[in-house]
């Protein structure tokens, strides 16, 4: 499991947040969040202990834990082998490791560069 890089905003595994989460930096989330997460232009990583019940909007999303909610990523979504995702995914690119669980839709929207 990849550890968060130093200098990255982090939510530790003992933290529980309910509400709207937004920011303009990358976020490593290993706790519990219910609500919505908006990180336009930045990346969200849900760590192996992370439990998210929220809609997610970000540039990139990496999931190692549990995420229940729709994901909209302007660039890329990665589901690691321990990921358990329930929800629809809209993104430009997606990478799914063997062992990841997805219940939902995958819709690829490529933007012209």
């Amino acid at each position: 499991m990849s550890a968060p890089a130093s200098g990255l905003a982090q939510i530790g595994k003992s933290v529980f947040i309910k509400g709207e989460l937004s920011g303009s930096e990358d976020l490593y989330l290993d706790g519990q969040v219910e609500g919505s997460i908006a990180l336009k232009g930045n990346s969200l990583t849900v760590g192996p202990n992370g439990q998210v019940k929220a809609s997610v909007e970000a540039k990139g999303v990496v999931v190692q834990g549990k995420l229940e909610g729709n994901i909209q990523a302007s660039d890329r979504v990665e589901l690691r082998k321990s990921a358990v995702v329930t929800g629809d995914i809209i993104t430009q690119r997606i990478s799914i490791e063997e062992g990841a669980y997805l219940k939902g839709k995958v819709d690829i929207h490529r933007t012209d560069k």
Partner: protein, 238 residues
């Protein structure tokens, strides 16, 4: 065939739900599929199809359809059917699965959503109490003219036929991978950690042609393809 309820209780006694994983180092077998070949002509010539894959989450399948410009929905119904909260008792006091709750939590889509449904071997391994309700729901979520592909074992396949997951590798070719269920590791009374690994899903029944026709009697047409590996492929049209 062994009782599903007995196997279900054995699987869940004293533990959390099982995790479905490919068997460690399991060999991937390749097979040609006439049904898949026929379907592939559809999705290679059309755009923006809506496809429902009812097997285990398959990165290969998701990649195959998204690169083809289609939308894919992934829903692992066999794993969903192992939810302990589905257990209930019927009028005779026998343990069965609650099909109403199952359909309240799964296959929840607007009517006529999908162009293609990939059932793979689902009807062969799904609990008896869920098969007909699931097929009924699939009829309603398929578009008129939409197609459903399912695989059924013949009697010659034998009662211990392992449950596989299917990956599309192109055209009419599939990779098959045996499914193994693994309970989460638990610490036993002596402090030692145990991880029980059991065989995958059990074959519930063998359908004959008449059973299959009855199962899909609400569909407009049905086509059978018999393969050498004791699999009967069925392509139905809503």
């Amino acid at each position: 065939m062994s009782s599903v309820s007995q196997n279900f209780m054995k699987l869940f006694r004293g533990s959390s739900g099982p995790e479905t994983i490919p068997a460690q180092g399991s060999q991937k077998l390749t097979r040609r599929s006439s049904g898949l070949g026929e379907l592939s002509r559809l999705w290679e010539s059309a755009e923006d199809l809506c496809i429902l894959d009812l097997g285990s989450t398959s990165p290969a399948n998701i990649r195959h359809f998204t690169e083809g410009g289609h939308r894919i929905y992934s829903e692992d119904l066999l794993t969903a059917s192992t939810d302990p909260e589905l257990l209930t008792k019927d009028e005779q006091g026998s343990i069965v699965l609650d099909s109403r709750k199952f359909l309240a939590d799964n296959l929840v889509y607007p009517a006529a959503r999908f162009d293609v449904v990939l059932c793979w071997n689902l009807p062969d391994y799904l609990d008896e109490s869920l098969v007909k309700p699931v097929v009924g729901r699939l009829w309603s979520v398929l578009k008129p003219g939409g197609m459903l592909l399912a695989f059924f074992h013949t009697r010659d396949a034998g009662p211990d036929s392992p449950c596989h997951r299917f990956h599309i590798v192109g055209g009419d070719t599939l990779e098959m991978q045996k499914i193994v269920l693994r309970r989460e590791a638990r610490r036993g009374p002596t402090g030692a950690v145990h991880t029980a690994i059991s065989d995958g899903f059990q074959l519930q029944r063998v359908f004959n042609n008449r059973h299959i026709e009855n199962l899909f009697h609400d569909f407009a047409s049905i086509k059978f393809f018999l393969a050498r590996d004791n699999i009967r492929e069925v392509l139905v049209v809503r």
